[in-house]
Each structure stands twice: as C-alpha cells, then as structure tokens.
C-alpha cells in the first residue's frame, strides 16, 4: 500500500512542484540572455528591464526552495489533519505507511529542488561572453586529476567514497529530520480540540529547544571527553579519519532525534487524532 500512497502523493505534489521547476528554468534562460544583453546594452531602460528579469530569477530560486518546504508542511496538514483526513485515515493502511509516504515524497522534492537550483545556476552562467559548454566544464578538474592530488596527500579514494556516502546519508536523514520536526509538532498540536495551529507552533518551538539543548549537552560532553582543543591534526589521513568520525556521529545524533520525532508523530496520529 505504501507504493500506492507514494503514487498518489507524487501526483498531488507534482502538479505544484513541476510547474515551479519549469518556471525557474524559463527564468534562468531569460536571466542568461539578460546578462548578455546588459553586457552590450547602452540603453538604461533595457538595462533596468534585464535587471528586473535577473532579480525575478533570484526570487524564483528562493521561492522554489520555500515552496518545497511549504509543500511538505501543507500536504501533511491538509491531507491528514483537516477534512481530507477523513479520507486518508480511513484507508486500509497503517499510520507508519501514511507518515513514510509523506516523508519519502518530501525528501525526493528537497533533492530535486537542490538539483534544479544547481542546474539553473549553471544554465545562467553558460555561454556567457563566448563560453562554450566544453569550455565551461573544462574549468573543472578531471576525476584522474582529483585522484592524483589526493594520492599525493596520502588519501585513498576509498576514504572519499565513505565520506561521500556518509554525506549523502546525512543529507537524506537531515531531510527526514526536517519533515519529522514539523510533523511531530503538528500531530501533537492537533491532539487538542482548540487552538490547534497555535499549539503546533508551541510544540515546534518546544521541540527545537529540547533537541538543541540535548545535542549541545551531548556534543560538549564528547568534546571534553576526547581531550578537546589539545587534539592536533598532523596528517591528511588524520583529518579524513576525524571527518568520517564527525560525520558518523552527526548522522547517529540526527537518526536518534528523528526516531524520537517519528514516535511522537505516529503516537499523535494514532492515539490523539482529533479531526474537527
């Protein structure tokens, strides 16, 4: 049933997100032309008009990011906690499937938005003042060059793969954590009969405070226990080892926090659901 929930959730969110991406790409193309026109233009009006297009492109990029976050919050709120909840909570699916479907789709859109933003930034920079596609990418070092530089510093490519994988995992877990932070606050706030939105905000702030207090306390304790500022990195391998350890620990902390928020979300929906 999770696959069916995902299918319908992608359909419901895609109708908003895909046009947003299309609009940002169109603005990127227009911004690309505008930058080239500004370079050659002598007319103030044309320059102002092109400047406005570039400003619209920047606003578009910011709006796409905000839209992704708003979509994540709005879908959970309207689909599970408002009138549509009468449909969704009476489907023969578990609460876990309901929560996971929203989380997975939101994280996919987070990643898509991130990729689209990079794509449009590259698109805007392309072909400026005679730069061809080949010239643009020639500016980046090749994988062989990167490997050679790393080998010189005594870093194995295997270490990089581990760090890459940990970073990717950290990004996904950060996405899940962001969703769950909002979901838990909304689920708990909507257990009450009145002032549901206000209480959701109170829970959001409360959760942020408690989790940051716990994380700060734990990190400080670990820093003091590990010898703190006396730790000196002498080689690149040591830096890599420390980097991997920090990433793994950050991942573990985020996973624990996400698990706590997940339990709060599920309990709120399972035990405290109180649709108006």
């Amino acid at each position: 049933m999770l696959s069916k929930l995902l299918k319908h959730e992608f359909r419901a969110t895609g109708r908003t997100m895909l046009p947003v991406y299309a609009a940002v790409v169109v603005l990127a193309v227009l911004a690309n032309f505008s930058i080239r026109v500004i370079d050659r233009s002598v007319h103030t009006l044309v320059t102002i008009f092109c400047g406005l297009i570039i400003a619209a492109f920047i606003i578009g990029i910011i709006a796409a990011g905000i839209m992704t976050l708003v979509m994540m919050i709005k879908r959970f709120y309207t689909n599970y906690l408002k009138d549509e909840g009468y449909l969704m909570h009476t489907l023969p699916v578990s609460v876990h499937e309901l929560v996971w479907s929203k989380m997975i789709v939101s994280v996919v859109w987070f990643i898509c938005t991130f990729l689209v933003i990079w794509l449009v930034i590259i698109l805007t920079a392309l072909f400026q003042t005679g730069t061809s596609l080949a010239q643009f990418f020639a500016g980046f070092p090749s994988w062989a060059e990167i490997k050679a530089a790393l080998a010189e510093a005594g870093i194995r490519s295997g270490d990089l793969w581990v760090i890459g994988l940990e970073t990717l995992l950290a990004v996904v877990v950060a996405g899940l954590y962001t969703c769950l932070h909002f979901y838990a606050a909304m689920s708990l706030g909507h257990m009450f009969s009145k002032d549901k939105i206000l209480l959701s905000i109170v829970f959001f702030v409360g959760i942020s405070f408690v989790l940051s207090l716990a994380t700060t306390g734990y990190s400080t304790g670990r820093f003091v226990a590990s010898g703190g500022a006396d730790y000196i990195l002498e080689t690149a391998q040591e830096a890599i080892r420390l980097g991997k350890a920090i990433l793994a620990e950050m991942l573990a902390i985020e996973l624990v926090q996400s698990a706590v928020l997940y339990i709060a979300t599920v309990l709120g929906l399972k035990r405290g659901l109180n649709l108006a």
Binding site: M1, H8, A12, N79, D83, T90, V93, N274, L275
Partner: protein, 231 residues
C-alpha cells in the same frame, strides 16, 4: 457474529463526556438508524468505529477486531463533511478508491455517475455542493463493504436529493452487510430502517427493531423519537 460491537465504550473530551458506557451490537444484513439530537454522540460513535478517535474506556469491535488497517478494509464510511480533495476529478477519485479498496466496483461507480450526468473529468471544486455530495455517496456505496457507516447522509440537502441518496443506499448496499445511518431526520429515513438506536447525551436510550416500536408503542419511529427526546 456482530459486525459492530461496543462493550462499555466511553469517550471523553476534556471535561465533556461524549459517550458513556455504550453497549450495543449490530448484526450483518440490517439497516440501522443511529438516531439522536445534535450533540448526542452519534458522530463520536461513528468516528470511534472508524479509528478516527481512540476510546477513553471500553472497546469497539468491527467484525471482532479493534479498528485498524484490517477493519478499515471492511468499512465504507461517509463522513458528514466534504472530505474529498477538491483538485481531483471524479475519474481520479475512482482510480484512488480502486487502488486502495479491493471491494470497490469501478464499473458501478462509473454507471451511477453517467446516470446522473456527472462528467468524470470534472474536478470536485468545479461541482456544485449537491453534486459533490452525490459523488461522495456514489464512491462510498460502490464498495461491497461489510459495514457502511453513513454520518448524516441526508443532512442539508433538498428533498429530491434526499430521495436520491436513500434510493442509492438501498439499491447499492451489499445485502449481507450492515448499514448504519446516523441522522436526526427520522421521518425521511424511517421507511428504510430495520432497527433503531436512540442516543441521548452519550447514552444508548433505546435499541430496538422498527417493527417492535410500531407494535409495542403503536407509533411510528418519528413519533416515538419526538416523545423520547421531548424538550
């Protein structure tokens, strides 16, 4: 075995006792009127049966099981709200129901929409209030469920639509299933009911068959209801 059973069921919202020590059972094949004035606890009972609320005490069982993923596959529920996503078309909603409910008869739903002249490609937000209510009812009644829970299906609609709704319910429900119709408009539903449950201030005031009321009290259900709930 009863399709719906309540044992010492209570529900409290803060200081308000919505339901208290409800004991009742509904057998398959019966059309039951859940009757009571506004605020008597009818909707709370139906929400509990759908797992939309958790009991404060006691239990509610659907086909012997507490409300959950399995019971939801057996229950076809019509809430007293417009609950369908308004951006979806009637066709998309039929796809949605067919995806999640193995007992959903897509063909029958399509036929009913055609008979009413409702365009399948029309979105919910483009429909009138009456048409939206009809689409909701068609989707709910196109399932071969074991238990239909219909919360105020005829509230706030004109008499012609009221007739259509009752006719649709009676023509389409699975005969081996139980149908629970919650309403305070007794006179309109009386002719389709086998049994009635009167709910008053969160308590079951009466559970009886319609025939018993007519024979023993010598009154229609509507007349008896007015007597029991006289202000």
């Amino acid at each position: 075995m009863a399709i719906l059973e309540c044992k010492g069921l209570s529900k409290r919202f803060g200081r308000i006792q919505a339901l208290e020590d409800i004991n009742l059972s509904i057998e398959p094949g019966r059309v039951v009127g859940l009757l009571g004035p506004n605020g008597s606890g009818k909707t709370t009972l139906i929400k509990l049966a759908n797992g939309l609320l958790t009991p404060t005490a006691g239990e509610i069982l659907i086909d012997g099981r507490a409300p959950g993923k399995e019971s939801k596959a057996l229950v076809s529920y019509l809430p007293d709200k417009e609950y369908l996503p308004d951006w979806m078309s009637a066709r998309q909603l039929m796809d949605f129901f067919a995806d999640f409910y193995a007992d959903f008869d897509r063909e029958r739903a399509g036929e009913m929409l055609t008979r009413l002249g409702i365009d399948e490609s029309m979105r919910i937000k483009q429909m009138s209030k009456g048409t939206r209510e009809k689409v909701q009812l068609i989707l709910v009644m196109s399932r071969q469920a074991k238990l239909y829970l219909l919360d105020e299906p005829i509230g706030g609609v004109d008499p012609a639509t009221r007739d259509y709704i009752l006719d649709t319910i009676i023509r389409n429900y699975n005969p081996s299933a139980a149908v629970v119709i919650s309403t305070h408009l007794i006179a309109d539903v009386e002719q389709v009911l086998d049994d009635v449950i009167f709910i008053q201030n969160g308590h079951v005031a009466l559970q009886s068959s319609v025939d018993e009321i007519r024979e023993e009290k010598g009154k229609s259900v509507d007349a008896y209801f007015r007597e029991v709930f006289k202000c």
